[in-house]
Amino acid sequence: MTARHIIGGCAAVLLTALGAATMGPTVVAVRAQGPDIGTQAQRDSGKTLYLKNCSQCHGDNGDGEGYATPHLFPKPRNFTSGKFKVRTTPNGALPTHQDLVNIIRRGMPYTSMPAWPGLSDGEVSDLAYFIKTFYPDFASAEAPKPMELPSAPASTQASIDLGKKLYVDTGCVKCHGNVGRGDGASAPTLMDEFGQPIRAANLTQSWTFRGGSTREDIFRTMTTGLNGTPMPSFTEALTVEQRWAITDYITSLSGSEGPNYRNLVVAKHVLDTIDMAKGAANFAAAPAARFPIIGQIMEPGREFHPPVTSVMVQAVYDEESIAFLVRWNDMRVDNTGTAGPMLPVPIEEEAAKPAAAPGAAAAAAADPFAETTTAEAPPSEFNDAVAIQIPSAIPTGARKPYFIFGDAQSPVDLWFFDLARKEPIQFTGRGSADLAENDTGDLTGTASYDQGEWSVIFKRPLRPSTGAAFVPGTFLPVAFSVWDGFSRERGNRRALTSWYSIYVEPEVVTSAAAPMIRTALIILVFELVVVGLVRRRYGAGARGALGGEPSHPAATRA
């Protein structure tokens, strides 16, 4: 009875919630007649909120020139330009009120625009009304009408295949690259309409999409384009079905909905000797762990917005050595300059514009689809590089070296690989200002670049001549650094992870089968013995005493 009531109640609540949810947009649609700029009181309230929460980045005047702007990339939106990226309205049009509300609510992943879950619906709406005051057209024109976004057909293998073909034919590859890693030929030269460099989205990491990663979001972006960026609207070039097909293809590229960051990489034992010539094939058996990468913003020479957001790591070991495969996406190979973990970074550079090909890309920005790229981005001054960091000695207890190149008491071993060279070299780090080359010759490695992805293999003996040994069955802290030469990363200006762990899985992982069977059999035999004894004693054939006390005959129950 009670259960039924509870279920009923739940259902009622759910239905009400659903009803409310479906009614919401209807209300907005009804209101979208005439300029939708709210009341003075709403705008005033919005202004207060804006000055407290938004002006640090977007500027007091809405021009995108706040305190934080020099360090941010992408740059904060300039509201006075009237160009808004994520909309439901046609290309070039202003966003609807709901579009603004949505973006404040949800934020933009992997940018400095956060979500604002703490603000009430009314406050977010007031903010949106205030933002509209920065661009006069909001007040003068009719409220923009959203485009019709048809509902999604089911994704099929056929639609994905079609999408893949269209992806190439339509020219998506030019910026987004052949397999969508944002490594297209013109990617390094892209500029937005504000003259800022801009990167093509990495379509294999849907969780980083600024406008959201659902199929509807992707479809909408292709339909409406992103105002102010080289991303155009494809309403004319492609039919609705074709756009859905590309959407399906893009969705299929990521493989998972989220990044699934891990805090541990498991090194598997392999029977075959690790052969560097075999490359990534050595790692077929090892599970991949994705670690989040953040900018090095702790030591001077900071990198506030590294282009790499994550690394994928796998590890295997054989009788002699352990090998790591580190993979990450990079839109271009940079191997024409220098690289090093100690290269100086002038402090002024922190606030400089992110890497751009100076004066190169105006043309490209105008037409990213041009057959020949007018201006090739100039070669980089710095090389791509990667490093694996482990403590120089196995840490005892909680104490680990400082995660940025160690500290004076606890040094780290840095396996540094300048990707313009053949082999990695080893450094010993006692702090980011105290690195010394300490190559024992133990370390070998190979690197390859394919379709916007670096695959770098490091190999080292399990028990090296000096340094921490990898012992099966134990954990060891491990951290990674990545330098993107194109973004002028070198020295302290780099992307890194904090400490994670590597677990060297013992060679023989005991199978559960034997203990399971043993347990089951023991219990089964025990049960059978008990049942057998009970039947003998109390069964139909032997109706006897119940209690079995020698002293007094128990009552028998018939």
Binding site: H71, S112, G118, L264, I294, Y402, P515, A520, I523, V530
Partner: protein, 271 residues
């Protein structure tokens, strides 16, 4: 306490009492009820090791109770004996005989396949500060000092506003990436940090701390943590390398201003 679970257990027992259930069923219900209570009845879950101790005790007690008088023994053993001896229960008996080892085997499997987790080391979140630190060659007393600009709040509100505004600039140029736009410790790099950055907006943390403590943490950062403060994992930079002393004080002012908290006053020495 996990109220729904406790209520559910109580409901089941009320039902059993109402039905005047057989002692065997009751004992079983007690045992299972105790397990469910220990396992799910608490919002902070009880570790498996303790649950096994408790269940061992409950098992002993249940056995003791059901066998503690002739009547109880009789009441408990009857359904079991019937299950094991009567023909019409044969299928049920067979099912039970197979089910128990199967469950035990499944349990063994689950026990052997718990995911590997890296070792975890607890840390002191707000370790004690040193009495005095040196920032930019100037000695600053953490115990006895105060934010030099705090007194402006009353004496010169206009200048105070300027300091707060400067602190705001400092914050949004340096701290926002980790501590977040709304100071809630949820900046854009949070997913890559462990321990996670301090949430200033939780209405609790900075209200319990003195401004000099914040100054110490900001200027010396993770590398300046004492041993017990979870050494060398914190990504908090030593801001003295980048910021001027005044900038740090201003940023501290801004933290309190933005969140509407008041810093903890210096405690007067007893006696």
């Amino acid at each position: 306490m996990n109220i729904p679970v406790v209520l559910a257990i109580l409901v089941v027992f009320a039902f059993l009492a109402f039905r005047k259930a057989n002692l065997f069923i009751l004992a079983l219900a007690w045992w299972i009820g105790a397990f469910v209570f220990f396992r799910f009845g608490f919002t902070a879950p009880i570790p498996a090791s303790v649950i096994s101790i408790y269940m061992g005790i409950v098992s002993l007690a249940t056995l003791a109770f059901v066998s503690s008088s002739e009547q109880r023994r009789e009441e408990v053993s009857r359904p079991l004996l019937r299950l094991m001896t009567e023909k019409r229960f044969a299928p049920l008996l067979a099912a039970t005989i197979i089910a128990i080892p199967a469950l035990a085997a499944a349990n063994v499997y689950v026990q052997m396949n718990v995911p590997i987790e890296p070792p975890f080391f607890p840390r002191t979140i707000h370790p004690a500060s040193p009495p005095e630190i040196t920032v930019h060659e100037k000695k600053i007393s953490i115990d006895l000092g105060d934010n030099p600009f705090r007194e402006l709040e009353k004496s010169n509100p206009q200048e105070f506003r300027q300091h707060v505004e400067n602190g705001r600039r400092v914050y949004y140029q340096n701290c926002v990436f980790c501590h977040g736009d709304n100071l809630a410790g949820n900046g854009m790099f949070v997913h890559g940090l462990d321990p996670i950055p301090t949430n200033f907006a939780d209405g609790d943390t900075i209200a319990n701390l003195r401004e000099t403590f914040l100054f110490w943490r900001a200027s010396k950062g993770g590398p300046g943590l004492p041993e017990e403060g979870g050494p060398w994992n914190s990504a908090m930079p030593a801001w003295e390398k980048i910021l001027k002393e005044d900038e740090i004080w201003d940023a501290v002012l801004f933290l309190y201003e933005f969140t509407g908290e008041r810093p903890r006053a210096r405690e007067e020495h007893a006696q």
